[in-house]
């Protein structure tokens, strides 16, 4: 029986520059890169040396703590550079792509007869595994653990995020394959949340429990949905996977090919013609950025959406999990008496001479200015208005800051990921780095108890 989720608390951040629903093929990138920061908590051990030739889907490195977990190359070509940082930590891997792509073909397990262990083994070796993430800790799933359920959010509410239904159109076959495979790895259910209209590529798939969600952001965040459907308790594990990544997973299961192709949204007020592009994981962002054009010289380029994405540059590469690239103006300018003037062009949840409440549907052109300085926590009751989970956000943040492990556990840190605190961070009057605080808290908890 499906359960509908209605979210009341939250905030839609309407921004200028949503991607128009037309898709172009991006120019083929010369160099592709895997940014190791995308794989949080993974210590890489290289399988390939600099200068070696790789096929698309051939393992580049593995997880030092789980040797069977391979990370594969999105394209075929030459591994031209292993970029290292302080203490020789590997930062990224760059691959000079071949003109004609050469795929490594894995031996596909029979989806009807294979058991969970066989599928797990296949995904680990073929490079599909890193797409599966787990809670607690919001990291790549631990293959030793059995999840009590798997959650998929097929409804994007983040500002300027790619429309899930649009980018998944026609991918039902791959999605079904991925679901069938995932279903074998859990005794529990696969919960898929779709928009309230009910039109979704997932709507007719088998082996899932469908939920309709409605309400403002963060209704589309998988963390919110988990909290409303079946919250994570201490000791339990749930997996999450994004629908876009399921397409790659599905193709990997059907054909044995790791096809890193995906449709991404290029959006933001700086982009002249925001729209969708098909490209590959790790592609140079410049291959599609300038096709749409930019209207300013200086801007912030973000791998992901404006709330949770990571900063990149025009020389950057598409992230492993991202299906959105956003460009917004930098805001490194002073504003005269900016703290007491009435504000019409910024979003606020208060009405302290801020007037965004007058036009809830107006689209804003926000820049990266913090609109104030970092302060101690002062105001209370504000986060609760945009935080729909049954968790005390302020108290949990404070528990993480003072590293009180008991309190972190008791207040529900197992249930959250940094992205769940992106909205409270957005509205925070004290300009505290909520997502960083939660990330550090999760890392500490995993180190001490995980």
């Amino acid at each position: 029986m499906s359960k509908d989720i209605r979210i009341r608390k939250g905030l839609n951040i309407n921004l200028v520059g949503a991607a128009e629903q037309t898709t172009s093929k991006a120019v083929t990138s010369n160099v592709y890169a895997l940014n190791l920061d995308d794989f949080h908590g993974i210590t890489p051990k290289m399988l390939m040396k600099q200068g070696e030739e790789v096929k698309a889907g051939e393992p580049l490195f593995y997880n030092k703590n789980k040797e069977q977990m391979h990370f594969v190359s999105p394209v075929s070509g030459e591994l031209v550079e292993i970029v290292r940082g302080a203490r020789r930590k590997i930062l990224s891997l760059k691959i000079l792509a071949d003109k004609t792509q050469d795929y490594m073909i894995n031996k596909v397990p029979d989806l009807d007869t294979a058991d969970g262990a066989a599928i797990k083994n296949y995904l680990l070796h073929s490079g599909g595994w890193p797409f599966i993430k787990q809670r607690p800790y919001d990291v790549i799933a631990n293959p030793d653990a059995t999840p009590k359920a798997i959650f998929i959010s097929a409804y994007a509410t983040a500002p300027l995020a790619a429309d899930v239904d649009y980018v998944l159109k026609g991918k039902e076959q791959e999605l079904q394959a991925a679901i069938t495979a995932l279903g074998k790895m859990t005794p529990g259910k696969i919960h898929v949340s779709i928009g309230s209209s009910g039109r979704s590529p997932f709507a007719d798939l088998k082996g899932i429990e469908l939920h309709k969600v409605s309400g403002p952001h963060p209704a589309g965040l998988v963390g919110t949905q988990i909290n409303k459907i079946d919250p994570v308790n201490k000791g339990e594990v749930v997996w999450t996977i994004s629908p876009q990544d399921m397409v790659i997973l599905g193709e990997l299961l059907l054909t044995g090919k790791f096809n890193a192709e995906r449709t991404i949204a290029l959006a933001g007020s700086v982009i002249k013609a925001p729209k969708y592009y098909t490209t590959k994981i790790g592609a140079e962002i410049s291959t599609f950025l300038y096709a749409s054009g930019v209207s300013e010289d200086r801007f912030r380029l973000i791998n992901g959406d404006v709330l949770t994405g990571s900063k990149t540059s025009t020389e950057g590469y598409l992230g492993f999990y991202n299906n959105t690239v956003t460009a917004i103006p930098e805001g490194d300018d002073y504003e005269f008496f900016g703290w007491n003037k009435p504000v019409f062009n910024k979003i606020s949840t208060t009405r302290a001479l801020t007037f965004s409440w007058l036009q809830p549907n107006k689209k804003y052109d926000l820049d990266t200015n913090t609109n104030g300085e970092h302060r101690a926590f002062v105001v209370t009751g504000q986060y609760e208005e945009v935080f729909p989970m049954d968790i005390y956000p302020l108290q949990l943040l404070k528990a993480c800051m003072v590293k009180d492990l008991d309190e972190m556990e008791q207040l529900g840190l197992y249930e959250v990921a940094p992205e769940d605190f992106s909205l409270t961070e957005f509205i925070c009057i004290s300009k505290q780095p909520h997502q960083q605080i939660i990330r550090d808290g999760l890392d500490l908890l995993q180190k001490e108890l995980g």
Binding site: E236, N340, S348, E373, R375, A376, G381, H434
Partner: protein, 418 residues
């Protein structure tokens, strides 16, 4: 100007005086800081805007207080006007001048000493000057009697800011409301000056006499009169509501406090939960007292009789109760931080205020003591509210479905599910 200040900022960067300079700089311009981690865009509000909103709500009370200072002084000398007219008797230049010369120094001393200490601490400790004192500095002159000597105020402010706030770590870390700490310090350090019926009207302490007589003027507050047992009040309910009565500078005009409250609730800066439950709490206690009197349990000669028989809803119109509930109880740092806790916290403040007001033998006002008391208990209230959430989570844990890990030893599995 913008460019010059930017260059100055870079010059000061990393130096000892940087926090002091930045405080002044950010007062003029919101900084050019951009997001580094987490969300790339941020909401429009910062702490300065929040504090500024509270100050905006307080300004009408301050201006009214200035007029009222003159009005009370002239009325004490010449008697209250027979046919009161707002423009001829109240909003006059001479009234305002009295207020300006007595109250503006209070404001200047409050801000001067308080901000001076804040800057000093910021420079010593090397953190930015936080905005907490902007509101405190405005509240202080409004909750003290008009004839508070400036040197007393200066000492009290220094005490309140250092002991009430900075020793705990500054803005956001304090346990007690700094403005009320200052008020309490004045009351307990200089009780003979701060209580009685002379301090409320400017000049009464200095021995001003009534016109055409040698009798000294008196400035008895409504509560003072009630505590003395005089059931005959010289002020009507509408006087109390509009605020043409003696009292601390900013607390008299209930209509302006009400407008301030509506503004703060509408702008979502103050917690409506605390305000509403505070009003409910004070009404409840007032009703209980009225009930005791009505039931005839209290003999008429009791010294509590007049205060207890005072109509319950009029408690909100006299003294600092309304002002305290709207502007002091709603301080987010020292109050309850959970929404459910706010209901309990506010209710108890209203309840206790009226109780202390009636039973306090020396000084018939209780709101600042009640709020300080509840400041101390606020973390306890929150603790139990948060416990409720934790218990819910623990109950859920009993039905948890935990699957064995592939690499788990049987023994470790047992401890996991135990």
């Amino acid at each position: 100007m913008k460019e010059k200040l930017h260059q100055l900022k870079q010059k000061y960067e990393g130096k000892k005086m940087a926090p002091a300079f930045n405080a002044l700089h950010t007062f003029l311009y919101t900084p050019n800081e951009t997001t580094h981690s987490g969300a790339h865009v941020r909401g429009a509000d910062d702490l300065k805007r929040t504090m500024n909103t509270v100050i905006l709500a307080l300004v009408p009370c301050l201006i009214f207080g200035m007029f009222n200072a003159g009005y009370q002084q002239y009325s004490a000398i010449n008697g209250f006007p027979e046919n009161f007219s707002l423009f001829d008797d109240f909003l006059t230049w001479s009234n305002f001048l009295v207020g300006l010369t007595t109250i503006l120094p209070l404001v200047i001393v409050s801000y001067g000493i308080g901000l001076g200490i804040e800057f000093l601490f910021a420079v010593i400790k090397g953190h930015e000057v936080e905005e907490g004192y902007l509101v405190t500095g405005m509240l202080v002159p409004l909750i003290i009697p008009v004839d508070t000597p400036l040197w007393m105020l200066a000492i009290a402010v220094a005490f309140g800011v250092i002991i009430g706030k900075e020793v705990f770590g500054g803005t956001g870390m304090n346990i007690l409301n700094p403005a009320l700490t200052i008020r309490a310090f004045l009351f307990f350090a200089y009780p003979t000056w701060m209580s009685g019926d002379k301090v409320w009207v400017h000049g009464a302490k200095a021995g001003l006499t009534q016109a055409g007589s040698t009798d000294a003027i008196s400035g008895e507050t409504v509560l003072g009169a009630l505590a003395q047992g005089s059931s005959h009040l010289s002020f009507s309910v509408s006087d109390m509501f509009y605020g043409f009565i003696p009292g601390s500078v900013g607390e008299t005009s209930k209509i302006l406090i009400l407008l301030g409250a509506l503004f703060l609730i509408f702008s979502k800066i103050a917690s409506w939960r605390i305000i509403v439950s505070g009003v409910l709490g004070s009404l409840a206690m007032g009703l209980i007292f009225n009930g005791i009197v009505d039931a005839g349990w209290l003999p008429t000669y009791s010294k509590f009789y007049t205060l207890m028989s005072f109509p319950y809803w009029q408690h909100l119109l006299v003294g600092g109760l309304a002002f305290g509930i709207v502007f002091m109880a709603t301080d987010p740092v020292t109050g309850s931080q959970t929404n459910r806790g706010k209901w309990i916290y506010g209710f108890l403040i209203g309840f206790m205020s009226v109780m202390i007001r009636v039973f306090n033998p020396g000084y018939p006002e209780g709101v600042f003591l009640a709020i300080l008391l509840m400041n101390v208990f606020a973390p306890t209230i929150d603790h139990y509210v948060v416990r409720g959430n934790i218990k819910k989570r623990l109950r859920r844990l009993k039905t948890a479905t935990i699957y064995p890990q592939a690499s788990d030893e049987v023994d470790s599995l047992k401890t996991e599910t135990a």
